[in-house]
């Protein structure tokens, strides 16, 4: 075996005082050969991003390596001077970041930002740089590369921005590409295309790629070798097939067990009478216009959607961003007013109610939100947040608090924690508080808008199990909004697939997964990363 491209030896990185642990990384040793993709997998806080930033020497102030070496082509980067690092960054080591929305400077044109890499490291003339930039944009398969040169980041879609980022990182043909969750913020179909692009360019150029991710599906899709990290330590490392299908470390096993297999659950009770029926619901947004006529833009966020939710079952609404699935959820709980159509909950048409009448009905349909960090008021105690709903509906404070205590137990939280503030809980715990808050009103229908997409995979599995269990125990009917087909397969009896505000397909989950009718559903299923890998079942990964 030849000398590895990147070799990390016994690396430890110290965190500033007062952090939750003393070291972000302790004693990590890894190596990456040229022409190889090494995936570093771990949950949030595992130190995987710190590892990437240590190689680039882009750590935040106060976070410093205190032991070990990072050898890049035989040179130690930990001890390298800042000037030496600047010569390497962008030239020999390229980096792609997670958030395509914020990783590009909003005030400068995309072409200019790619060209800057050439201007920093080479003495090429303006025309040559332009040609090379254009060639790069073509290589990353940007639609209309000439227009993209002059486009500002806000004029590009998320996937296009990520292509610009990749073009930027590849500009000087680096020997090593570091990709820090490059597809996490993208839609599933876009993610599939970007992963294929990275893999393709890596093969063509023979680069080494250090790929950071939390998603085992992505790992199954792209990795040659896998390293699993937990709390700053390397727990397992090996070829992708071995780690994915025959994991040795217990932690890897729990992580992989928590990944929902892309297998539909058997649907049940879909013949039960409908508790919620949507009939021709539409919602349009109008933007711009104002004093100047003719400039208004009309967006049909939800177009003529008719669905029904049988009592005691879970209906999944699946779609990519912009498909109108969240708008639909907000219309159902009347956070938005639908323009047309009926939303029948039992005998009541929620869409036709006045604001005041809706408030009286609010307890019958409750919502759980996506972001457990932003959806709880940080200045109120957890117990009060849960008790607030019943108190608004007329319960006394003592009754409401007793109810909250009971619910804390039900969702698996310690009732003693009722006096704490939201920031003292972890993400999964906060989502449990959100769930308790919704359940406090004893709703007939629970609308959950991406309730697990901000959570780590092991926490996600716990919350999904909790939702399932509560549905059975309380006889809840649930509308479950998600972009993740794996999650939908895990929890939904029926699913409806939305695209551009329209339901393109609806039916029992098993039927939809087995034989998708709409072409778009097929494309979505096709794009699920690692679709041929079923966790826990040895299976040759698709090459």
């Amino acid at each position: 075996m030849t000398e590895p491209l990147l070799s990390i030896e016994n690396l430890s990185v110290r965190l500033p005082q007062g952090a939750d642990r003393s070291h972000a990384l302790s004693g990590v040793s890894l190596s990456l050969a040229a022409n190889e993709i090494l995936c570093v997998v771990g949950e949030s806080g595992s130190g995987k991003s710190v590892l990437a930033n240590t190689v680039m020497r882009l750590l935040p102030p106060g976070v410093t390596p205190d032991a070990g070496r990072v050898l890049f082509s035989g040179r130690d980067l930990v001890g390298a001077s800042e000037a030496e690092m600047r010569r390497l960054r962008g030239a020999a080591i390229g980096m792609v970041f997670q958030e395509p929305m914020t990783a590009l400077n909003p005030l400068r044109r995309a072409g200019d930002q790619i060209a800057e890499t050439f201007r920093i490291h080479t003495k090429l003339g303006a025309r040559e740089i332009r040609e090379k930039t254009l060639a790069l944009l073509t290589e990353v398969r940007m639609p209309d590369p000439v227009a993209a040169l002059r486009a500002y980041p806000h004029e590009l879609s998320g996937g296009q921005r990520q292509r610009v980022m990749i073009a930027m990182a590849l500009a000087l043909e680096p020997a090593l590409l570091i990709a820090d969750e490059p597809t996490t913020a993208l839609d599933v179909t876009t993610q599939g295309r970007i992963l294929a692009l990275i893999r393709d360019i890596q093969r063509r150029r023979g680069m080494g790629v250090l790929f950071i991710t939390h998603d085992f599906g992505v790992v199954a899709e792209i990795a040659d070798r896998v390293a699993v990290m937990q709390a700053g330590r390397l727990v397992e490392e090996g070829p992708a097939d071995a780690v994915l299908n025959r994991p040795q470390a217990p932690y890897t096993r729990t992580l992989i067990a928590a990944v929902p297999p892309l297998l539909p659950r058997p649907g049940r009770g879909t013949e039960a009478p409908a508790i919620l029926a949507l009939d021709g619901v539409s919602k349009t947004y109008r933007t711009g216009g104002g004093l100047l006529p003719g400039r208004a833009r009309v967006t049909h966020a939800v177009k003529d959607v008719s669905l029904s939710l049988p009592r005691g079952t879970t209906l999944g609404i699946v779609g990519e961003s912009g498909s109108g699935k969240s708008t639909l959820a907000r219309c159902i709980v009347r956070l938005l007013d639908p323009d047309a159509g009926a939303i029948r909950l039992g005998e009541t048409d929620l869409a036709a109610l006045s604001r005041r009448a809706m408030r009286a009905q609010a307890r019958r349909v409750q919502m759980v939100f996506q972001d457990p960090f932003a959806s709880l008021n940080p200045r109120r105690r957890a117990g009060e947040l849960v008790a607030q709903g019943p108190m608004l509906q007329g319960a006394s404070r003592a009754e409401a608090m007793a109810k909250a205590r009971e619910l804390f137990g039900l969702v698996g939280l310690d009732p003693a924690a009722m006096d704490r503030f939201p920031h003292e809980f972890s993400g999964g715990q906060r989502q449990r508080i959100g769930l308790a808050r919704a359940l406090a009103l004893e709703p007939e229908v629970l609308v959950a808008d991406e309730p697990v997409s901000a959570l780590d995979v092991s926490v996600q599995a716990q919350v999904l199990a909790l939702l399932d269990q509560l549905r059975d125990r309380l006889g809840l009917s649930m509308l479950f909004i998600t972009h993740d087909l794996r999650v939908a397969g895990q929890i939904c009896d029926r699913i409806a697939v939305m695209k551009d505000g329209v339901v393109v397909e609806a039916g029992p989950t098993a039927a939809v997964f087995a034989a998708p009718q709409a072409a778009y559903t097929g494309a979505l299923l096709e794009a699920v990363p690692g679709r041929s890998w079923i966790p826990g079942r040895p299976h040759a990964p698709a090459a």
Partner: protein, 325 residues
């Protein structure tokens, strides 16, 4: 063409505000005891009531307040600011004589405050928690907390009286008959202290905003991207952080144009500068209604113009805004 259309639209949108300000000021001055004629008579050393009555009729001051206001507004529509009773010439001429001084003072102060605030703000943000940051922030707080007239007076005491480096007041050496470059230098020497006095408070505000804005921008993802490209620290600041950090500053300049005009009243009084601010003060004392209303009108136009320019600059700086328009 689009810019002209935009300017006209902005002007039309601010017409109601302008009308309310003018009417309000008009009525407020009716409440104050005495009128132009009283002030004129006092200047002439007194006179008999009959003359006063005649003068009042001559200036149209015997009409009811509402009629006077209507007459004034009607003249304004014809772009006629009226006649100043005290100065004995058209208000437009009086204001045109004074306006350049104020514009020069405001322009110089604004430039100094903006440039100084930006530089010091960046410096403080780069050295956060270290002595340059502490020093700059403390100075900023001092500038902000001290009234500007006191700064002006202390400046005069130190630089004009003790050291004799700079003149104590006035716009230029009266009767020296300087021409061309000599005159410009003379005016510049006279304006050093007033400019500093007016600028310091604003400099303190700008430096605080710039420091906070810079700290925020430097923590953003695209700054990390720029570093990952191999850009040096200076390059990161100049090419990526600065323009983004300037956006809130530019907004602030538009907001504070009016405040600065107010501040110039004090500074012009302290330094005996023949500017718009002092003219406004004198007009109030002498109940010179026409001049005062004229000044308010011109000031309002000035603030509207500054805000319009700020909007244009903002659109240039931030492509996202231009897209939304």
């Amino acid at each position: 063409m689009t810019i002209l259309l935009l300017a006209l639209r902005r002007l039309a949108a601010s017409l109601p505000t302008l009308l309310v300000i003018l009417a309000g000021l008009f009525l407020l001055l009716q409440l104050a005891p005495g009128d132009t004629v009283d002030a004129l008579m006092a200047q002439m050393g007194g006179g008999d009531p009959a003359t006063a009555e005649e003068l009042r009729r001559y200036y149209g001051l015997d009409l009811p307040a509402a009629a006077q206001l209507a007459r004034y507004l009607w003249r304004l529509v014809q772009l006629d600011l009226g006649q100043s009773a005290i100065y004995g010439k058209p208000v437009a001429t009086v204001i045109a004589e004074r306006l350049p001084v104020t514009l020069l003072l405001m322009g110089a102060s604004l430039t100094l405050a903006f440039a100084g605030g930006t530089l010091l703000g960046i410096l403080a943000a780069r050295r956060i928690g270290q002595w340059p940051d502490t020093l700059i922030s403390t100075l900023g707080l001092m500038f902000y907390a001290t009234p500007s007239f006191w700064f002006g007076l202390m400046g005069i005491v130190l630089f004009a009286i003790r050291l004799g480096w700079l003149p104590a007041g006035g716009f230029e050496e009266v009767g020296a008959g300087y021409m061309g470059l000599t005159r410009m230098l003379d005016i510049a020497r006279h304006l050093v202290l007033p400019t500093l006095t007016l600028a310091l408070v604003f400099l303190a505000t700008y430096l605080r905003i710039m420091r906070a804005s810079m700290l925020e921008v430097m923590s953003l993802d695209y700054v990390r991207t720029a570093r990952a490209k191999g850009l040096g620290e200076t390059g990161v600041i100049v090419r990526h952080a600065l323009r983004n950090a300037l956006l809130p500053m530019v907004t602030l300049v538009g907001l504070q144009a009016g405040t600065m005009l107010g501040g110039s009243v004090v500074v012009e009084s302290v330094f005996a500068l023949p500017g718009l601010g002092r003219l406004a003060y004198e007009s109030v004392v002498q109940r010179d209604l026409n001049t005062l209303l004229g000044i308010v009108f011109v000031s309002a136009l000035l603030v509207i113009t500054v805000n319009f320019v700020v909007d244009l600059v903002y659109g240039r700086l931030d492509p996202r805004i231009a897209a939304g328009r």
